[in-house]
Symmetry: C2
Subunit: 463 residues, 2 copies
């Protein structure tokens, strides 16, 4: 006998949790499609040679290699031929380069798949997790307008998901880089090091960080340090305030062309975000956001749950210069974001904000009072299903109390009863467990009646 268990570092859910998780996936997908993004999926394994283009990447990322039984026995030299993808960006780059001539640009794509990282086993660290990405890829150029569209998609997703108030925080790497240049901090390594220190502000406090930056390791002048801390402290409260804060940066002494570009891009994104109908309260400037210094080159986003900032960013991304330089000479600039749904779901569950779905995907259960009623029960279920209602039948008679208990535990809203008396009168009894009501319906009208009830519930829930 083998003890049944999963490897550590995976998120395996019970059915009601899976329903809640699936609903979140559905919300994400529906909104990605709403904005015209097209689905793609890529194989979970890629050729190691293709996947691991960046030297040293494999050890940093703790890649999982894949070998079939046959290959294991051969014990070949070097790395195994295939590896599991560790994100959806490298596969996207490979896909776009491979299928370049079959795609239309700008190419809006969404991709929702599991990815794999050889993390150390640790609470909340997953070795397998769902990522839900969108990217817009241009050929040669890509208008800054897409940076605003992507923000509008993030807004639409979390507005519908209903996990609480949220704020999309916006910055621009050109603004940041230009700002550092104006301070004569031009080395990108040094910029990164400074930003890493700045990231510790919450943990270490302003004074400690100030001391480090002015200390021997960095050797920055005191007023330079102060300017940096003032800059990264900028947060806007609303749209007008965001514009005012950008205006205040117009006069920056020693501002470079890069800085001015960053300002102009942020202004355009803000204007379009408003035109796209994203409410003021859902976005703001946060000039401390960097998202790793090498990859992103313009707009960067992070998304925070207002009441749960400790969860960190639930959706991040930004603009990059060139997607697929390892695979093609075509220049493919892009902008995109990623939602790490496994981690998000897990953290929401830890915070007590989601658990299992309140209501099952099963909407109705036809109870069975005796074997002689089976054919009627099956017929009633068939009509409900034809009417678009997810319905299960109790295939064997049990005590009615047990059948109700089962439906209640399972989160099934409607229990349908049809015994001798009802069948003779051409009606059925409906028990609505969510509203604790009971009523009779003409058998032929059952599906229509429940449809109306479910439609009302959906309308109330704003779905």
């Amino acid at each position: 006998m083998i003890r049944p268990r999963t490897p550590s570092g995976v998120l395996e859910l019970l059915p009601r949790e899976q329903i809640a998780f699936q609903r979140m996936l559905d919300v994400i997908r529906r909104n990605y499609e709403r904005f015209g993004f097209l689905p793609i999926e890529t194989p979970v394994f890629e050729l190691s040679e293709v996947l691991l283009t960046k030297s040293g990447g494999e050890t940093e990322r703790q890649v999982y290699f894949v070998q079939s039984t046959g290959t294991l026995e051969k014990q070949e030299e070097g790395l195994p031929e295939m590896a599991l993808h560790f994100d959806l960006t490298v596969p996207l780059a490979r896909y776009v380069a491979e299928h370049e001539h079959s795609l239309s640009f700008p190419f809006r794509r969404y991709q929702m798949q599991r990815v794999y990282r050889g993390e150390r086993a640790q609470r909340g660290r997953f070795r397998e997790f769902h990522q839900c990405d969108i990217d817009v890829i241009g050929k040669d150029t890509l208008s800054i307008r897409y940076d605003a569209e992507v923000l509008a998609v993030i807004h639409a997703v979390f507005a519908e998901m209903g996990i609480g108030d949220f704020r999309i925080q916006l910055n621009n790497r050109k603004l940041m880089r230009g700002f550092f240049e104006s301070l004569d901090v031009t080395d990108s390594e040094q910029q990164s090091a400074v930003l890493r220190e700045v990231d510790k502000l919450d943990k270490r406090g302003g004074d400690a960080v100030r001391e480090t930056l002015a200390g021997p390791g960095f050797g920055l002048a005191t007023d330079t340090v102060q300017k940096i801390l003032d800059f990264v402290a900028v947060r806007s409260s609303d749209h007008a305030d965001a514009l005012a804060r950008l205006d205040a940066l117009d006069g920056l002494r020693g501002a470079t062309e890069t800085f001015r570009q960053g300002l102009a891009e942020l202004r355009e994104v803000l204007a379009l975000v408003r035109a796209l109908g994203v409410p003021d309260s859902h976005y703001c400037l946060n000039l401390s956001i960097a998202r790793g210094l090498d990859y992103y080159t313009g707009t960067v986003y992070e998304t925070i749950l207002t009441d749960h900032p400790q969860i960190g960013s639930i959706c991040s991304g930004g603009r990059y210069e060139n997607l697929a330089s390892h695979y093609t000479r075509s220049k493919l600039p892009g902008v995109g974001i990623s939602i790490g749904l496994s981690r998000l779901y897990w953290q929401l569950r830890e915070a007590g904000l989601v658990s299992g779905a309140d209501e099952s995907s099963v909407q109705a259960m036809v109870a069975l009072m005796g074997d002689e009623h089976l054919a009627d029960a099956l017929d009633i279920a068939r009509r409900l299903r034809s009417g678009g209602i997810n319905t299960e039948v109790q295939m064997e008679p049990r005590k009615l109390a047990r059948q109700f208990q089962y439906a209640s535990r399972a989160g099934i809203r409607f229990v349908v009863l049809a015994a001798e008396d009802e069948l003779a009168r051409g009606v059925v009894t409906v028990k609505d467990l969510s509203r604790e009501q009971q009523y009779e319906v003409v058998r032929e009208e059952l599906a229509d009646t429940l449809q109306v009830e479910l439609e009302q519930a959906r309308a109330l829930a704003g779905r």
Copy 2:
């Protein structure tokens, strides 16, 4: 520069193909849920010790093992710790055994995930493919009634999928086993060998198979061979014929208890299938179906596209005695089926029956005639999206002909135009590319109008 390519043996699709594939997945999932099946997902990798419980299984199945960079360097003894699942049945067994006390039985579950097999590269052989499974698992016992329900689910799936006429073929392993017993062919190895020969009937012809079975390898008497060939040739034409053919078997000389059980089970399944509303033309008896001799113990199913029998079974499964004997002492009988969607999609595409989706998931495109109209274009798109219509905006003005060409190639049905003149009059122009019509709509009524059009198209398509 690295040549961008996937490993062999995977099915990677272009966006319009992916949309068609996704629609098939949606049909399957919708119908699984319609019958009250609950979703679960399991990690793509399992502990090797847990996954490979059957001795010799790993080499037969050509399992893929998974190792992170760190583990590779250590070069541990023995098999790697983890392996990719090669089907969804072993993970289901592990899941049910692990979570037994959190589940309600009978447990109806569906699971749609990719699985992995280290196949040799060969056309139509996939190393990664989608499986879409349902199973009903009982605790200690499971009524034969579920065998009929599972058949009704198969019917609902393929009736909605619209890939042509199909027939679910039904047999029962008890009937088969009992029949062999009546002929004194009691050794299960020998039964398997005979069935393998019988499987070659189409290829080798009746005479050759007859000769083999009567020859030295098998040594069966001539009349025994004839009885076997007569038995496996049974196919019913309709419901009444199916019952008549079972009646004809009632008088079988030497019929055992097992045989009689098989007859009774088939009769009950047929009666309930009819009560479930499955039309006569969609199911039949086929007494040659065995589906591997060891695993299934009662009802077995195969599903054939009537006009494309060469594709083979597109959905198969059956009843088994005990799901998880390796992991728990609980007896967990079950019945289930599996749709191998990657293979099915690939074969339909090879046969010219599906290609990309005719219509994109993007339903409307807002054209852009000049930068000065961008804010209006974004506003029109926002309203369409609020009305539930998947809409993309041309973010940069291009020649109108190119915008139409783009929409047409992408399979987008509606192109919405709003230039100076229209905006002044508070209207927009809609070009319906599928109906080659053009009309004006009041701007505020656009979403409602297109909703009605889309609803009509759905109704016409029977969706």
